[in-house]
């Protein structure tokens, strides 16, 4: 590899870099940043109007392998990630078998290395409990040593308070977070969408906002008692934003993420009975979106993650109540974030990069990606002005379950570089 990017807008919030410069990369290492008028043998690209940022991480991805390869595989998932502008993904443990044993972690890591020359780093998130059944702790220390970067029973919450307590105690020893899918299952039983005016009008059973909030509130009290890193996955309500905000004010180790669909769509979208508007947590209300945007702005919400949840067409082309929860997100995340957050002046590009790159690396203690001479080139290149129409047929993901088909977005991944590999998005 010998590449010269000219006129790139480099933004690395962690190093206070925000300037237009040339960047010369050889064998996956950043050789020079500044004015480089000529580099012998280099492929030269003009990156005027493009942003070069530390590689983006999607810390909430369902790669579905092992066990559900008809929905997605490590290979198709990594291709989707790279195409969507991510150089790293964290894969969730609700596979079959679940990621509750070191051998599964090792297997995933090995398989990921061969995809596209390893351009996407795959970081497994292991289960908190054996088989994700919520009864006995998984071997958390072994899992961490095998390469797991965090723990979750995602898809389901860690329901029992006592199990959560023990998990937090282990997490504090290990120094890796418990990631909670916060949902009181007794309050959401049978539910298909947000509970409120729209669910009443559609006659669909509701999942109230409080089902998320009571779980977050319980967990936060326990974090305060035990002092372990705790991260709330895919927050969706105003109440959760408020809980996390007041907890952060007490300097407790609590962080959280939001998905692009939860700051873009409301439960109004369900009126169509389109099963691609069915996800868990469900689409909420405009009031929740406003609170989430405020949470992003003031730093309450640390991370944007997609909860990329592929499902086959047959699984989704059914009655709303029977459809599985979840949508794909890797290939629309950057476009939605720029359209809904940067264009609407909720976040600056620099703040957006913190949520996509700096903060998830910090929370999960991943090796950092720095835009500096001598560093490994782990970069996401974004065209923030490009206008494009989402077309699910273009997705690299094996599944096409997106509610955003046909939507015009501003901002698109342009290319990624990582592990001595370069890939352009189209």
């Amino acid at each position: 590899m010998n590449i010269l990017f000219k006129n790139a807008h480099l933004i690395d919030p962690a190093l206070n870099v925000d300037s237009v410069a040339d960047i010369h990369i050889v064998h996956g290492i950043i050789q020079k940043i500044g004015r480089v008028s000529f580099a012998k043998g280099a492929e030269v690209y003009d990156l005027a109007e493009k942003i070069v940022a530390p590689g983006f991480v999607d810390m909430h991805v369902h790669l579905r392998e092992p066990g559900y390869e008809y929905k997605e595989t490590i290979e198709t998932g990594c291709r989707a990630a790279a195409s969507g502008g991510f150089t790293a993904v964290c894969c969730m443990p609700n596979t079959n078998p679940a990621i509750d044993d070191a051998s599964v972690v090792k297997n995933i890591l090995e398989r990921a290395r061969s995809v596209l020359g390893g351009i996407v780093d795959v970081y497994p998130i292991a289960a908190v409990t054996k088989g994700r059944e919520g009864k006995e702790l998984a071997p958390m220390m072994e899992l961490a040593d095998a390469g797991a970067v965090g723990f979750t029973d995602d898809g389901a919450p860690v329901e029992q308070a006592e199990i959560m307590r023990r998990a937090l105690e282990y997490a504090s020893m290990i120094g890796k977070p418990i990631i909670q899918h916060a949902e009181d299952l007794t309050l959401t039983k049978g539910g298909a969408m947000n509970e409120g005016f729209i669910s009443t009008g559609l006659g669909l059973p509701g999942m109230p906002q409080v089902a998320e909030e009571v779980m977050v509130a319980r967990d936060i009290r326990m974090v305060e008692y035990i002092g372990a890193p705790y991260h709330v996955a895919h927050i969706s309500t105003r109440g959760t934003v408020e809980l996390v905000r007041s907890t952060k004010a007490k300097k407790l180790p609590v962080t959280c993420e939001v998905t692009p669909h939860h700051f873009t769509l409301t439960d109004e979208a369900v009126r169509s009975f389109d099963t691609n508007t069915k996800m868990n947590p469900p689409l909420r209300t405009q009031e929740d979106i406003e609170a989430i945007k405020e949470g992003l702005r003031d730093g309450t919400i640390d991370v944007i993650a997609t909860d990329h949840a592929p499902h086959s067409q047959d699984e989704k082309e059914v009655e709303f109540a029977f459809a599985p929860f979840g949508i794909v997100g890797l290939e629309t995340a950057i476009g939605l974030a720029i359209t809904e957050l940067v264009e609407l002046k909720v976040l600056t590009l620099s703040q957006l990069i913190e949520k996509f790159s700096i903060n998830p690396r910090k929370i999960l203690k991943l090796s950092s990606a720095k835009i500096a001479e001598g560093e490994r080139a782990n970069l996401t290149i974004v065209d923030p002005k490009s206008e494009w129409v989402v077309d699910i047929r273009q997705f690299k993901s094996k599944s096409k379950n997106s509610p955003f088909h046909g939507r015009t977005l501003r901002g698109k991944a342009f290319a990624v570089i990582n592990n001595n590999q370069l890939l352009f998005s189209d």
Binding site: S199, G201, L202, G203, L204, G206, F273, V318
Partner: protein, 313 residues
């Protein structure tokens, strides 16, 4: 007497629900039903209107009354009728709704009447097949033909619906009739309220422009019509109400309760009735009960709908 072809058309080619249905369309259906109601009084109760058309009654949930009413309406319009009943659970395991519908459509069906336990199933069907879809009840969403026959019955009794005070009593949250009634009644200018225990009143129902009562006497005091819904006894297990006895005590319609207001109270019920739970026998069979007229009008209203949809284009 209905013509072979109507000069007026409904705005939609399907009947999926009453939400958003314009007042003129409701009126057109009720007016058309009136002429079919006359047909039903004749010695020969059959018209050739839908001769050559094929209708399938696709019932994924058993409902003998609704299916019989549709079937009678279809046969009286001289349509060819096919009945397909399936238990949802067996359908779920094997063939999907989409496959079932596509198979049926290969048999050149003109109209599909669908009853399904899942809200939105008729809407889904309307996107995957070309036939005209009539919703015969989808989950706790809508049951538009029931609401239209309720409206017809009220108009028959009172002359007009505008200004009428109607209270829907019972399990609003799990009812497909309540929402359709609310949409239809509001479109026609009635004042609508609902009454039941808070556990069975869905969130933010007020935003449809209805009043909510938790005390039955308050509801009765301001109503001309009580539309009493069937209480599903298994809801007790879901902690929606503590006991049948308590429910009857506080939300059951009895003669004693009605006698407290010094004017006749019209009683309706979509059936089947849990006698002496939501409705005491002497009220159900009383002189101000319209329950049997509802059944008769149901056939005429369904004839009107099938006629208006089936002869369009």
């Amino acid at each position: 007497m209905p013509l072979t072809e109507s000069s007026r058309r409904l705005a939609s080619r399907h009947l999926l629900g009453l939400e958003g249905m314009p007042k003129e369309d409701v009126q057109l259906i009720l007016d058309t039903a009136k002429s079919f109601r006359e047909v039903l009084e004749r010695p020969i109760k059959k018209v050739p209107t839908l001769q050559g058309k094929t209708i399938v009654n696709l019932f994924f949930e058993s409902s003998t009354r609704t299916r019989l009413s549709f079937e009678l309406a279809e046969r009286r319009l001289s349509a060819d009728v096919v009945n397909f009943s399936a238990d949802v659970s067996s359908v779920k395991k094997g063939e999907t709704l989409k496959d079932t519908a596509r198979n049926i459509e290969m048999m050149k069906i003109d109209i599909i009447v669908i009853r399904h336990a899942a809200a939105g199933a008729p809407h889904f069907l309307s996107k995957v097949v070309n036939a005209i879809i009539v919703n015969a009840g989808d989950g706790a969403h809508e049951h538009p033909t029931q609401a239209l026959l309720d409206l017809y019955t009220m108009r028959e009794k009172f002359g007009q619906i505008e200004g009428l005070n109607v209270c829907i009593v019972g399990d609003i949250a799990h009812s497909r009739v309540a929402l359709s009634d609310i949409h239809g009644l509001k479109a026609m200018g009635a004042n609508v309220s609902v009454c039941g225990p808070k556990t069975l009143i869905p969130r933010e129902i007020e935003r449809f422009g209805v009043r909510v009562h938790y005390k039955l006497d308050d509801a009765i005091r301001e109503s001309d019509v009580l539309n009493v819904l069937r209480i599903q006894l298994e809801r007790q297990a879901g902690a929606y109400f503590p006991t049948i006895r308590e429910y009857r005590e506080y939300f059951g319609i009895t003669r004693e309760r009605l006698d407290k207001v010094k004017r006749p109270m019209t009683i309706m019920h979509p059936g089947p009735i849990n006698r002496d739970v939501e409705l005491s026998a002497n009220v159900a069979d009383g002189e101000h009960s319209l329950i049997l007229q509802q059944v008769l009008n149901g056939v005429a209203v369904r004839m009107a709908i099938l006629y208006l949809l089936g002869t369009a284009n």
